[in-house]
Symmetry: D2
Subunit: 340 residues, 4 copies
Amino acid sequence: MIEISIVGGSGYAGGELIRLLQKHPNIEIKNITSRQYDKTLINKVHPHIQGSDLIFEDLSPNKLDSDLVFTATPHGASMNIVPEILGSGAKVIDLSGDYRFRDINTYEKWYGMTHTSPFDSVYGLPEIYREEIKKSQLVANPGCFPTGAILANLPLSKEKLVENIVVDSKTGVSGGGVNPSPIFHYSNCADNVVPYKLISHRHGPEIQQELGAFSDVKVSFTPHLVPVIRGILTTSHSFLKEYDNPEDDKENIRKIYENQYKDEFFVKILDDGEIPTLNSVRGSNFAHIGGFEVDENGRLIVISAIDNLVKGASGQAIHNMNIMCGFKEETAIDGYGMKP
Amino acid sequence: MIEISIVGGSGYAGGELIRLLQKHPNIEIKNITSRQYDKTLINKVHPHIQGSDLIFEDLSPNKLDSDLVFTATPHGASMNIVPEILGSGAKVIDLSGDYRFRDINTYEKWYGMTHTSPFDSVYGLPEIYREEIKKSQLVANPGCFPTGAILANLPLSKEKLVENIVVDSKTGVSGGGVNPSPIFHYSNCADNVVPYKLISHRHGPEIQQELGAFSDVKVSFTPHLVPVIRGILTTSHSFLKEYDNPEDDKENIRKIYENQYKDEFFVKILDDGEIPTLNSVRGSNFAHIGGFEVDENGRLIVISAIDNLVKGASGQAIHNMNIMCGFKEETAIDGYGMKP
Amino acid sequence: MIEISIVGGSGYAGGELIRLLQKHPNIEIKNITSRQYDKTLINKVHPHIQGSDLIFEDLSPNKLDSDLVFTATPHGASMNIVPEILGSGAKVIDLSGDYRFRDINTYEKWYGMTHTSPFDSVYGLPEIYREEIKKSQLVANPGCFPTGAILANLPLSKEKLVENIVVDSKTGVSGGGVNPSPIFHYSNCADNVVPYKLISHRHGPEIQQELGAFSDVKVSFTPHLVPVIRGILTTSHSFLKEYDNPEDDKENIRKIYENQYKDEFFVKILDDGEIPTLNSVRGSNFAHIGGFEVDENGRLIVISAIDNLVKGASGQAIHNMNIMCGFKEETAIDGYGMKP
Amino acid sequence: MIEISIVGGSGYAGGELIRLLQKHPNIEIKNITSRQYDKTLINKVHPHIQGSDLIFEDLSPNKLDSDLVFTATPHGASMNIVPEILGSGAKVIDLSGDYRFRDINTYEKWYGMTHTSPFDSVYGLPEIYREEIKKSQLVANPGCFPTGAILANLPLSKEKLVENIVVDSKTGVSGGGVNPSPIFHYSNCADNVVPYKLISHRHGPEIQQELGAFSDVKVSFTPHLVPVIRGILTTSHSFLKEYDNPEDDKENIRKIYENQYKDEFFVKILDDGEIPTLNSVRGSNFAHIGGFEVDENGRLIVISAIDNLVKGASGQAIHNMNIMCGFKEETAIDGYGMKP
């Protein structure tokens, strides 16, 4: 049994951490911090969590006497508190973008701020960095788009099958967080599709960093907001360097994917003919991957589906905790999706 | 550890039973039947359940060598198979309307068919009939609208506070089941509200039976289809027989509700100022009840929210199983709702 | 040809006025004001209006040299500008609540502010006050909920058929306007139903004022937010003072409604068996009314459906303009709804 | 004034033709046919059209004594009736796929049927074939996806800027028509994104035919179903054959588009910084085109938005009629979109 704390518990990632950790037999939630909701029962902010006596507290990082701390704080805020928490000896899983980049210049260029406390973190995608995560004190939990995009394209980069990848992602609105703004106003985003940051989303360089680590593939990334609460559906388009015929190529590529993920509990390669959809992973920590069709132009299409708040945030954070702490990897996050 | 079977496992109630029972340590799923999908892996129908090797079988009732059977079959079909299952000694929880009515004439009038196999069942609302459920071999799992409506109004009838209750319910579309039809066609029910069966829904007499058992209250019930996947929001309007002033009446009524449900794990009376909403109970077995406002005309308003597929169907069925089998009542159904 | 201006043109009501007036052959839009968007092309705010060279201006009321002015300003703001516009000789149609109440005390109680400039306005529901509107210089355009609720219940009050009316309304989110807030945040209101202001919505006294003008009927009003962009579905529940049998009562009541509205172009009494739905009136100025079922408890149910931004706001305002200016009443607002 | 008929008037395209033609001063609707709804008032099928006395009739093609006939019939059905209507001397605008292909073999391969009555039709995209449409007796109205995709990419093909185009389209559910099926069942497609026919949608070869007519560009097309009622958002990804730097390329490409469409009333090139969205064109015949961003990999992104039932079907059909009959092109279809 370890003690954990959640810094920034009033947002969606915080709410999901609380919901999922309820079922975790090896941890106890010690503190949930929130500046805005200090001394407020969490059910005032998370009305689905009735019956808990947990309370938000406005605690400074050095008051979190915990074994592990989830920092669900905004980009730019994490870097101000993580060093102090690490200094106390606690492990940290940071859900912001602050510790995801190996090249600090990339971070500073895309996030538009100076990084005040670089640290030797591990990028927390267990399907790539499991061994490093085990030994790390600071894990940078991946971004939601990168989680779906990297899993969908990792074998293509490793096997050097393509030169360019176009990632066309469709995201649910919860990815934008709890704060109201015109783009997330119901009357604006219901019954609508909104492409945004066509070539300038900061998850682009994050995907590039990870896929580019295995070959010199170049990633072009464009996100779209769709009227869905949760989920990211990633459509990956790429042209095969060498292609023979659609059917054989498809079979070969499927085998490569099945082999890549054969030991990964949370990645499911769907059967031929099945296509990933968001409602199959809603609320779950699973990533569904499928497609693998090759058309007569040599264009390959791969689809992945994740829940942005679970596999794309809090569920993956718990997965990382389980690895860091030696718990069974699936603990508390093995539930199936909620369909319908 | 007991063995259970699910008859009619390809619908939404079947899918939810599988999803929820995955977490139940005291049961093993022995058979899941489906005529249509015989010998098909369940993930072909329930694509959110990847990684299970469960398979649908077209089994006759006498082949289910189980300790307990959930019959998630349509109205009219259950009565044809339940007697044979009961004859094998198994306990049965029937999710159809076939065994909910104490007066067989009411059933035959509202369901338009002859009942071929009446049996001494218990109405499976644990908040009323827990003791009877413990001893029953056949539990009739309540309808989705009645679950929300009875819980919202039970204290009013018990305390004889009102003569007439108007139940104005708003239901998600999953209540209509998996079979496509024009009323559930996306382009018809999205961005729309559809009142239906204004005075003729067969859940009306079911609500009347249960609320009328405690006083001579008369229930008027009208359902509306709203563009929501899951959930039933029940708005109960009634005029108090005696009323003093809005604030005092409200306080008195709140106390009556709190007292009625103080030992019920799955019924949460919300704090003053909080109003039940569907997304607070989505995916959970909780019923949230709140409101209790009295206006200057003496009209009382009470609101309840449930997930129609969980508390209104499969979750409540598991609750009944837990009671019938002596398991801890909350087992496998104590998860919080999924918000957002 | 008259010149009109729109004060407060950047909101939804303003956008609908522009969209609908595009087709009006008898008017010319002279000014559209907005403090926030001064000197901005309207398509920056209303991107559906491409190709127009209209521009927002931050104009004071005395600069609007128009024959008629629509004030689409917030409650409390209208009263500060309407007197000056009236002083210039222009007719005014005010879309706020400032001039809807005959008793200034009711306004001040429910809107929580002192009325600084009472004026002898006409309540702009043409189906009741057509003759008065013709002669009025200031028309108070009705609220969205009141429009649907009054039309659904007017014959009941006129004929003194009932004592109490419960109005259970379901509204689309656009009724909340363009400003983001948590309640209108997509992730909060999608896939959800949210009852609010259970007994305290200020449209309650507005409905009471109008229905109470014909008999001493008492109205209890409760709104619900549903995941719909546009539309208000009003469900009216009332107990008949005298009732005979459901079928005869239903027929009598239907006849009363058909007679009441037989000359009203914008009110459609649906055929027996048809029930109003929101998508049948989406984008149109029509009100659909139907139901008229009477159950065995003597409860009558009447349903109305309107588009809150058209019949419940801008369309009705144009209807009032047409009446005030002697144009054909249907001009520019006779389009059918958009279904699907 | 001409007389027109609609064959197959009970579907969404039929409903939109009726809704839009209501405002057309130069035509009179003579017949609306439907086999299923013979002798039924159209408001029983199109409840938004109240107050019309139009009635469905089960008429054979030779009974349509009209000047122009819209055939809103399924693929495979049109070819059986169009020859007879043409034989009567009437002009025909066919909304099915039967007459869209210049190479009959392509049709037969992708539609899986033998074409029994080829005819020299014109592909009814006015922005390409206006002059041919003027002289044609049979216009094949374009498919919904092709309309959005061709407009978004026409300048790229004409100017030979790219070799491959990936068209990633997001469509509303109304594109699937009025007939219920599991894929369009609300509980399946709400809160979901469903990629389908990843490389095998028959609108692919239609796009290829039209874009390939101007250069040897190769098109890869993949559609996605999103929880939207109306609209197709097309995201076009292509790699520029020659590129210099993102900013200059973007400006050059924007100019090419502006020049291509400068005289087209229904195509709006959005200002720099504005991105097309579905709710800006909802209910309108406009196509919005924007984006033109070029990333550092030389990938160009162009976005188009149309209403699939208007610009992608019935509105474009009326546009074609206006051209064929010498009416003003915008007649009856110049309304702005409905936002929100």
